[in-house]
Symmetry: D2
Subunit: 351 residues, 4 copies
């Protein structure tokens, strides 16, 4: 079989590098362009020496149209506001695109523009772009031209909430999402705030009101619920490289008459019974970022506290894995007709 | 001035060692007995080599009565259920005691016994024991015979909530406390779960329903509020050695008509204006465990999210500092008439 | 093609888990028995939850002969002194074996017995056992019955020294090997010494005189040199999970007349020109454990300091990778006729 | 007693902050100016929030002469090449100075200029400047105008070697110093190379030929030995914040006829018997950076390996403590007639 020609625009950030990792692993893919503004002319392995001898592709920086010409798929790992200009050029040139920014994740233009404080240059594309969560949009992904790869926090939150929102088993009145991310979430950059000496032995909240991912979570939750959902979202930065955990607080709706630990687990197991990458833990086992490190898995489970009537849902993923690059490869597999697990199974280790 | 003779029963755990650190630092204290069951006969500096030449006291293991005989104050860092037997012996022998277990923290016997699944051998002492949070019980601490040093999570939670509970500015309906602790919280022990290779790059919830500290938090919150308070408490373990952060979700009561970020900050500043160790951060600054590392400070601040009507309160402390041993020294200063800052100021560093 | 049936005796330590990782990755292997004394009856994924859904094989604990009966190859990850009893049973039952202990690494019985303070029950097998360093013993590995997987420090040291010893370019008078290992090197166990709180922010030498790996390094170096080589070996423990670096100090021999940085690099490049897993870095690039993390690569380079006439050689590997389990898989590929890279290429990431 | 007025030029780097920590701790010191080019007008506690309420001094940036006018002592934490211009101005204005750069550490101008690739603007001051290692230059420090605070690696290396060099017990032929530093050694700056994600799980050599500290070590060793000493020095970067360890390889001289572990220990104990901050460990105990964390102690011990005739010496210190700021305070105590331990005893903890 002929290989799918894939290029990555913005390949030297942490998401870019994880995309390289995943696609190198994929038997049906040929990497064509790895682009970089900062490191044009260097080898990919100069930036990530672990790849010496394994991926020595020379980084280039051609015009988007030229990247598109050589590729069946282009994955863009660009900043918000840049993607919205580059992606249309790629699509026009006949390419399919998976984009990692927030620029194509929203259906509601006003919400996007308020959240990102940007005017979208191609609002028409919002409608056709597909939100790249295969567990929800598998069918739409098959023929998508533009796939908006979900944000890390939204993937982690929506996956935990979906079965309960879909079946109206929890109340819409503010769902509280407390989340923790590893340091790779801040990207690969020279910034004192993320230096070893400042980050090690630190733990803090940030973006506690109005973090952009709030509205992305809300829009997806509302689609599932069929009605407007409000969430309170609070991210924290923790001293580990990869990983994300959400702890979600909500209350059972009147319909959820038999709420219990067992029932919550059962609902998860039923809802995700055909999903390979969502692992519903057994019994009282709870998600741990260590247990998803380096993988495309997302682990979920929940409990009910009868003393105060609250449901607590937990989900853990690798923020660069299911939270970014590996989920993009899962979407790629759907888009190009591969088994969804292709390239995503062989990469995990216990320590 | 004659020095206060202080002994520590159970001096080689992390809380014990932090007590040694603090008391060595204290100009009005003479350390008498440092006891240890496991390391009797060794020097304290054999267990903590950083103290070589600085604290070479030989660990002993005398009967509690003998410890009491030589001491003005005994600090007990013993397991729950052991303290309740040892502390009465010390008191009977004429000593004042600061205890680190949960055995004397409750006023309500039934709550204690249900939470710890133990029968208390000296329930009469619960009434006279003083809960060692100087910001609340300063007056009572002055003549206390038994001081129950608060749990780490309760200190962090109650300090953040007190101004709002006291003034009935938040609703009692479940207050949600999401908390994170460093690994020293698990104590000093040989346990694979806390090994470097299992803990590094890990992050997970634990004790998510019915953690013992829940009822301790509830009792103190109820005293402040003047009515029964229910909390939902969810601790997590994070890969740093020292530190604790709570993120608290609640709703403003009807009385809190002018709720805003600025107002929350103002209430904190007013309530804690005379408290040296509670630092109300300015403006939008938020607590970070790094900023309290090694200190007896607890940093607090809060925000209001008008979109969903939630108040979020944040507090950070060193779990071994304000969360355990250094708070005990603060209480000690109150008990023995020292300036409350004595021995607690000179121990901090920025990296 | 029929798959090779592989079993692992002692599969739940860190080396065992990395073997599982590697063999799961291998298209020509079927895992049969994963044995465990401590966790018999549990699933492998109960011990390493990252494998949930990916490797749920139930751990068993049959007699070695029964393991052998079902397997083409058994990999033993057993303690020294145990392997020497178990391996002969496996061989007798018709199996080929890769052993991870020190029991079959030596040709000289007396050196083994002095180093390990053990009497070898089957000294006859020392002669036929093949030292599993494919770069040196590729030919012998092809038909080996027993492969003694090299120690981590010896792999790292011998690979760095081989080109210079073989060509007599350095003097035999004590070669100084200063080495650093990550914490996984100590194995998976409940031990306060390797707890997060004791290991983080620590760095120390250990086993500074007479570490067992000294004699293993010396024997292999002597074979290469054709004459007795003496090394001074000093290991250190560093606060990272995986990785090993050696810094080697030696002097050029009289034959090495044109010694220089460039010449050292050239000798490495020539000697290892056909070796995929030994990466000779370019120019002044020096090995970093980060750049080999999770891989079977070993990076080498060296410099000459004209001021004092010393050659410094550097090598870095993943102690669980090229230093243990992945090197075993490389040897397995040689033994069973697979391309040497099979299963070892797709597992690397940059952060 | 009137307090000594101390100012710090360059107070917001890690060395500057550790100086603040130490001087705040010192009963005989009043901090006057804390200067900063980057953060003028901010409070010290804005940069290091742990100091909120404890050190809220506003950072200023006056001319050196104005700093000098207000101060008895100025500590300069400036880059090499800048100190050599600023320090003379301070001295001229009547101030005593402790400088942290390399600019006043050498007696031999040519060595300095070759090592730092700079022309010294005030070479006349090299003669009167005192090398701030109190264990060696205590007498000279008493009246010193300019104290050149030693480099971190030189302090650690020279302290380990001094007893043996002084008594000619080891050979001068290349002494091999293998050293490891924590990340604070690189300073406080925005640099991807020291970001959490790049530094964690990394370990690598750097500056392996011609590191500047080589000549500083050699000059001090030569003074002790009374003859030219050559060292081979190789630093490594390790993933911990604070700490430094040297492993030194050398050979006993002919005079050292009774070399043994015990004898090495005895020589250390005798040589340092009156030194509070040099801790000679007992028996086979070896230095660990954890055991000196946050302190001004330096731990030393050594072994002899009879198999290959090598002596191995080990020393560990906190690179910001004895390796920089706290050693400066020790020197300050000597300069101003305080007990040498003043301000340096109360700052240590076990975890």
């Amino acid at each position: 079989m002929e290989k799918v020609k894939v290029s990555i625009i913005g390949s030297t950030g942490y998401v870019g590098a994880e995309l390289v990792h995943g696609f190198l692993n994929h038997p049906g893919v040929e990497l064509v362009h790895l682009t970089s503004q900062s490191f044009e002319g260097k080898k990919f392995s100069d930036i990530y020496p672990v790849y010496r001898g394994l991926c020595d592709i020379v980084l280039d920086n051609p015009d988007p149209a030229d990247v598109a010409k050589d590729s069946d798929l282009v994955v863009t790992a660009l900043p918000h506001g840049v993607s919205s200009k580059v992606v249309p050029l790629l699509v026009e040139a006949g390419c399919r695109v998976i984009d990692h920014s927030g620029d194509f994740r929203y259906k509601d233009l006003a919400t996007y523009e308020a959240s990102y404080k940007l005017t979208h240059p191609h609002p028409d594309l919002l409608e056709t772009a597909v939100y790249g969560l295969p567990e929800i949009y598998r069918k739409e992904l098959k023929d998508a031209k533009i796939v908006a790869n979900p944000g890390c926090y939204p993937t982690c939150s929506v996956t935990a909430l979906a079965p309960f929102l879909k079946a109206h088993l929890i109340n819409s009145a503010p769902i509280i999402i407390d989340a923790v991310s590893g340091v790779t979430g801040a990207g690969r950059k020279s910034d004192l705030a993320y230096s070893f000496c400042e980050t090690d032995e630190a733990f803090k909240p940030y973006g506690v009101v109005g973090h952009r991912h709030t509205t992305e979570i809300e829009e997806q939750c509302s689609f599932l619920y069929g009605n407007k959902i409000n969430v309170s979202f609070t991210p924290h930065l923790a001293p580990f490289k990869r990983g994300m955990l959400t702890t979600i607080y909500c209350t059972p709706s009147k319909e959820f008459t038999d709420v219990s630990n067992g029932k919550i687990n059962e609902i998860y197991k039923e809802y995700y019974k055909d999903e390979h990458f969502v692992r519903v833990l057994d019994g009282k086992d709870l998600p741990d970022v260590k247990a998803v490190n380096g993988s495309n898995y997302i682990d979920v489970n929940g409990v009910f506290d009868p003393v105060n009537g609250l449901i607590k849902l937990f989900s853990a993923q690798d923020n660069l894995g299911k939270g970014a690059a590996l989920q993009a490869i899962q979407a790629f597999n759907v888009m190009f007709g591969f088994d969804e697990k292709t390239g995503l199974e062989t990469i995990i280790r216990g320590v």
